[in-house]
């Protein structure tokens, strides 16, 4: 009766089957709520030629920035990048292809991928470089462009708490892209801070049901802060 137990015990097992040239949908915003240990495992594995959809690309030496060091990423689909020098260098010399996608469109493309919506119209990007080559259509006198769903071979994400069936809860703004990213991957791998027994989470408080989760692993997290801003009392 272990069909629903999604827990794996090693990061190797968590990313088994990830191969060169695959597409990965990743959760996280900046360095907040990123699957930091799954990223480290991809670095260790040395998988190459990856296409990664993620709002950001990490920083030098942390998050997805790690995968730039050995040139593992072929293409980034992101809304905001270049917080790290290596990224900019690889983009400028053409080693790294970048598809800039508005943040809301990126989130919606992931959601659509998970929800069986192959494409949707949005006003975002109409009349801008983002709209170039895309179908334009008028609804109610306003212009919209057609955007297609995003799906991945894998998705990697981070949640706060899970039960063994993969029912997930996120914490504060570490939720961000994680729920949609998880739904959009053929094999979804989620690392969490805590795994509880089935029945311990209130069904009304689950942010994402376990049906979307294929593999679950408990990790420990550095949670690097990008912009440490404080006030004084």
């Amino acid at each position: 009766m272990s069909g629903f137990d999604k827990v794996v015990t090693s990061y190797e097992e968590a990313l088994a089957g990830l191969e060169d040239d695959m597409t990965i949908i990743a959760g996280g915003f900046g360095l907040c709520g990123i699957p930091e240990n799954l990223i480290k495992e991809i670095k260790r594995k040395g998988t190459k030629g990856l296409t990664i959809a993620s709002n950001n690309a990490g920083v030098d030496g942390f998050g997805l920035g790690l995968l730039l060091e050995d040139k593992q990423i072929k293409k980034m689909i992101a809304s905001y990048v270049g917080e790290n020098a290596l990224f900019e260098a690889q983009m400028m010399n053409g080693e790294l292809e970048v598809e800039l996608t508005p943040q809301g469109t990126l989130a919606e493309k992931m959601r659509a991928g998970g929800a069986g919506i192959p494409a949707f119209y949005t006003a975002t990007g109409y009349g801008t470089p983002v709209g170039e080559g895309k179908e334009v259509r008028e609804f109610d006198g306003r212009h919209y462009i057609l955007e297609e769903a995003l799906n991945g071979d894998f998705s990697i994400a981070k949640a706060w708490k899970a039960d063994r069936h993969g029912n997930l809860m996120f914490r504060k703004t570490a939720r961000n892209f994680n729920p949609m990213a998880i739904t959009a991957g053929k094999i979804s791998v989620v690392e969490v801070e805590e795994i509880v027994e089935v029945g311990q989470l209130d069904p009304d408080e689950i942010h994402l049901p376990g049906i979307y989760v294929n593999r679950l692993i408990q990790g420990t997290f550095e949670k690097t802060i990008e912009q440490r801003t404080v006030r004084t009392a």
């Binding site: 809304s79 109409y126 996120f170 703004t173 990008e226």
Partner: protein, 218 residues
């Protein structure tokens, strides 16, 4: 005198109304939160998935799981709510945010805005800016009226890649507050001590100057 950053933020804050849900971009727009009138309540939306953003945390309150769209550590006010990025941009795209304030490189009198890319120089991406300008009915763009070398940023046609087309209706610069109507900038207010002539000289796009253009008050 051109407005200081603080005065720009103060003038933005005059656009707030009690009960407004507001999204403030990085930089000067964010400063406006410091000038919310005390008889008024405004709730701040942060597009990474937070409604009810509070001030920066005290040192001991810092939480890596709680940041704003500028990736800065923040806090939550009472009544805050957390949601996913898809839900956040559903909120924005669906027009539920009452006021959006953001910076720009250029605005033109067709209501176009360029704020995210300088070809060959700055290619960091648009983040949420394209969604914000496409989703909001009520947007204020804040920026300096002209570059340091005196080039107007208020043009008849934007020269940089656009963030949004025909979506801007109000611009606040360090010199003036302008509305955009029917392909023209309409001068509404001027910074204290700034002459109408100076504004005319530094505005590239068609500018309409009404009979009476009051000075801003703070």
């Amino acid at each position: 005198m051109a407005l200081t950053r603080e005065q720009l933020a103060q003038r933005v804050a005059q656009e707030f109304q009690d009960g407004y849900y507001v999204n403030l971009g990085i930089g000067i727009p964010t400063l406006a939160a410091n000038y919310i009138p005390s008889d008024m309540q405004v709730v701040l939306q942060s597009e990474n998935g937070l409604l009810g953003m509070g001030p920066f945390p005290l040192e001991e309150e810092i939480d890596a799981d709680l940041i704003n769209a500028g990736k800065q550590t923040v806090t939550m006010v009472e009544g805050a709510a957390i949601f996913s990025s898809a839900d956040s941009f559903g909120m924005i795209r669906g027009g539920h945010v009452d006021l959006t304030v953001l910076g720009a490189f250029e605005v033109d009198c067709q209501g176009n805005i360029a704020s995210w890319m300088i070809p060959g120089k700055l290619i960091k991406g648009m983040g949420g800016a394209m969604d914000l300008v496409a989703g909001a009915d009520n947007i204020i763009v804040t920026m300096t009226h002209a570059s340091k070398s005196g080039q107007s940023k208020l043009l008849s046609e934007c020269t940089l890649p656009l963030t949004g087309k025909g979506c801007i209706r109000r611009v606040l610069t360090d010199l003036a507050l302008m509305d955009i109507e029917d392909g023209k900038f309409i001068l509404r207010e001027r910074a204290p001590g700034v002459s109408i002539e100076e504004i005319i000289n530094l505005t590239g796009g068609k500018l309409v100057v009404p009979d009476h253009v009051p000075e801003m008050t703070f």
